[in-house]
């Protein structure tokens, strides 16, 4: 009896894997219906591809100077050439190539900071929310203190002491950004730990790390994912700002913020120097926000149902109209 029933269970578990693919396909279908979300996802995928394959796509090395072609305008001007499609800067470097390479820095910094700050913040929030008492008081006061301290000042101090570099930028931004994860995680944990399934886990004999990481954390993923993506957008902007101030990425490396900063001196002669990296920043942040709002929708089961119902209602109306038209045409 028992071996057969165990087999049934194991077979059913095996079959599960296909269902996961099915779910992913469904997510894809839903994405296709949400135009804004779809545009966001396409843009982000394009940006990531651009960053990953930058050396292959970029027509020039971003640091190659060509002093004979300084401040060349984009191709649609009389003096523009296809060689430098979006023009060149004051040292004759190709703006298009620099923008493509700039994506690497922005995305890398964004991802690294979100992982670092998110990881630390979530762990602190989980401990504060679940363990409560002194741990909670300590973590929350720490967060309060750090939030009260001006972030830019802290960044300036650290950068002044250690000296600006890619790593320092990441560390500084992570130090400034983990609190929001901590706070949000804590408040979510406080509500989830009241739920009976958490109590059930405790009654069954789970120790606290298991309760936290197996029962509480998985149920926090959707709000945390949305937060992380929004934070990603903020970090992209923050990195650009730091680089613009000269505290972030240092030449000869490239960054959108750095390019805007250097371009601002030539703003009236060569508008493309500030505009093109600026647009890159804007498009990235917009795309991330589009994706975030779609994710928020999709992670709320009720909203997801409503969205679906709206689609169905629309589809049925179309079908009805089509059938009416057909009837009208028939005789």
């Amino acid at each position: 009896m028992s071996p057969t029933s165990a087999d049934t269970l194991e077979k059913a578990l095996e079959k599960n894997r296909y269902e996961r693919v099915e779910k992913l396909l469904e997510l894809g279908r839903e994405l296709k219906r949400d135009k804004a979300g779809l545009i966001g996802v396409i843009l982000i995928t394009a940006l990531v591809m651009m960053a990953v394959f930058a050396p292959m796509i970029a027509p020039h090395d971003p640091t190659d100077q060509d002093l004979t072609a300084r401040l060349a305008p984009p191709v649609w001007y009389e003096k523009g050439t296809w060689n430098h499609m979006l023009g060149t800067d004051h040292l004759g470097r190709d703006v298009l190539s620099r923008t493509i390479h700039g994506a690497r820095v922005s995305l890398w910094v964004g991802a690294a900071v979100v992982l670092l700050a998110g990881g630390f913040g979530v762990v602190m929030g989980l401990m504060a929310g679940y363990l409560g008492g002194r741990t909670d008081a300590f973590v929350m006061r720490w967060i309060d203190t750090q939030v009260a301290f001006p972030g830019l000042l802290l960044a300036l101090i650290i950068l002044a002491v250690i000296g600006p570099s890619l790593t320092t930028v990441v560390v500084v931004l992570a130090l400034n950004g983990w609190m929001v994860y901590g706070r949000m995680t804590r408040s979510a944990v406080l509500s989830i730990r009241q739920s009976p399934y958490v109590e059930a886990a405790e009654v069954v004999g789970c120790r606290w790390p298991r309760v936290i990481f197996r029962h509480i954390l998985p149920n926090l993923t959707s709000p945390l994912l949305t937060l992380a993506i929004l934070e990603f957008a903020r970090i992209v902007l923050a990195e650009a700002a730091l680089s613009f101030l000269g505290l972030g990425i240092q030449p000869p490396a490239t960054s959108w913020g750095l390019d805007v900063s250097m371009g601002k001196n030539y703003m009236f002669m060569a508008w493309w120097l500030v505009t093109i990296p600026g647009c890159a920043i804007a498009v990235t942040v917009l795309a991330i926000n589009l994706v975030a709002s779609w994710l928020r929708l999709i992670s709320d089961p009720q909203e997801r149902e409503k969205q679906f119902a709206r689609h169905m209602a629309g589809a049925m109306r179309k079908k009805m109209q089509a059938s009416i038209e057909k009837e009208l045409k028939a005789p």
């Binding site: 469904e26 997801r304 149902e305 409503k306 679906f308 119902a309 169905m312």
Partner: protein, 330 residues
């Protein structure tokens, strides 16, 4: 209950409500018809997912987005509530002539206003009373639902009251505009049993004194037995049996009604073991062909796969069961 007028107060005819979910189309109401006469109390009994709430939500115009009314009609005093031409009539009727009492009074009372503000608001809006008139009427209403010291209560906020007291306030608000029909959706489910007994007594008393019609939605047959003249039993989005309450309880015809009555624990009869109905309620995305109860029914036969309608059995009883119609198994 004698009906003097020919048209029933409320008539629901072949109501079809579908919910469009990602899992499929949930057929919450699959052709529900019932009538409520003047001064009559109708109990609609069913388990969760039977569509009992959906039917009255359609009456109150509370079916929204994933749900759509896709068939049938609802008439109040002979006029359609679903006809887009009669919007003005509908707006006047809902909230004034038809009032609703919900399961959880805490969520239907606004926590930031006092009880007094909330009741007088209704009176001033619907009946155009001035402040003093409304206040006086509000006190009368609280007295009507047996709330002591109404003057003091009017100044209280919902959180300062117990569940039973809040439900009394909800009833008072429902009575504010002297409605002809009160819809009570599981009015006592969230309350303790002894408080439930108090509220049921109050409802029965008010119904008789004010001669108002009541639709009572509940999952508890005992509550119906206490309060209702007629009873409609719902299963899987359909009414399976409807008739005079005394008769339905005394001699149920549909196997589901029989099972439900047997499964309701009685304190006045000793039984060895609790009686259950085997199986689980069907999935309304793909309900069984024909009689939805047939997979759980011990009398089921091939005939049960044919589509069914409510069939009169005389004495105002209607049943949708092939076996019952064939043999009248009373």
């Amino acid at each position: 209950m004698n009906d003097n007028q020919n048209t029933p107060l409320l008539e629901v005819r072949n109501l079809v409500v579908n919910f469009y979910t990602r899992g499929g189309v949930v057929q919450a109401s699959r052709g529900v018809s019932f009538q409520v006469g003047h001064g009559q109390t109708l109990g609609i009994v069913g388990e969760s997912g039977s569509g009992k709430s959906v039917a009255v939500q359609a009456v109150m115009g509370l079916i929204s987005n994933p749900g759509r009314i896709e068939g049938g009609d609802i008439f109040f005093m002979g006029q359609s509530l679903l006809d887009p031409a009669g919007r003005k009539f509908v707006r006047k009727v809902r909230g004034k002539d038809i009032a609703m009492i919900f399961q959880d009074p805490m969520t239907s009372l606004n926590p930031v206003f006092t009880i007094g503000t909330q009741i007088t608001e209704v009176l001033r809006h619907h009946l155009g009373m001035n402040r003093d008139q409304a206040r006086k009427r509000a006190m009368d209403l609280l007295g009507l639902v047996d709330i002591n010291a109404p003057e003091k209560r009017l100044k209280q906020y919902p959180y300062e009251m117990s569940g039973g007291m809040r439900q009394r306030v909800m009833i008072a608000m429902a009575l504010a505009c002297e409605p002809r029909l009160i819809i009570a959706d599981e009015p006592t489910t969230a309350l303790d049993v002894t408080i439930q007994a108090q509220i049921l007594e109050l409802l029965a008393d008010l119904q008789q004194r004010l001669a108002v019609s009541v639709i009572l939605i509940t999952h508890d047959l005992g509550v119906v037995a206490q309060l209702c003249h007629r009873v409609a039993v719902m299963y899987a989005g359909r009414i399976v049996e409807v008739g005079d309450a005394d008769q339905v309880f005394a001699s149920p015809v549909h196997p589901y009604t029989k099972g439900l009555i047997r499964a309701t624990p009685r304190l006045d009869v000793v039984t060895e073991r609790m009686v259950s109905i085997d199986g689980v309620p069907p999935d309304l995305i793909s309900p069984p062909q024909g009689c939805a109860f047939s997979p759980r029914c011990d009398q089921a036969e091939n005939a049960c796969l044919r589509p069914q309608t409510l069939t009169p059995l005389g004495d105002d009883r209607h049943v949708s069961c092939w076996c019952a119609i064939k043999g009248d198994t009373r």
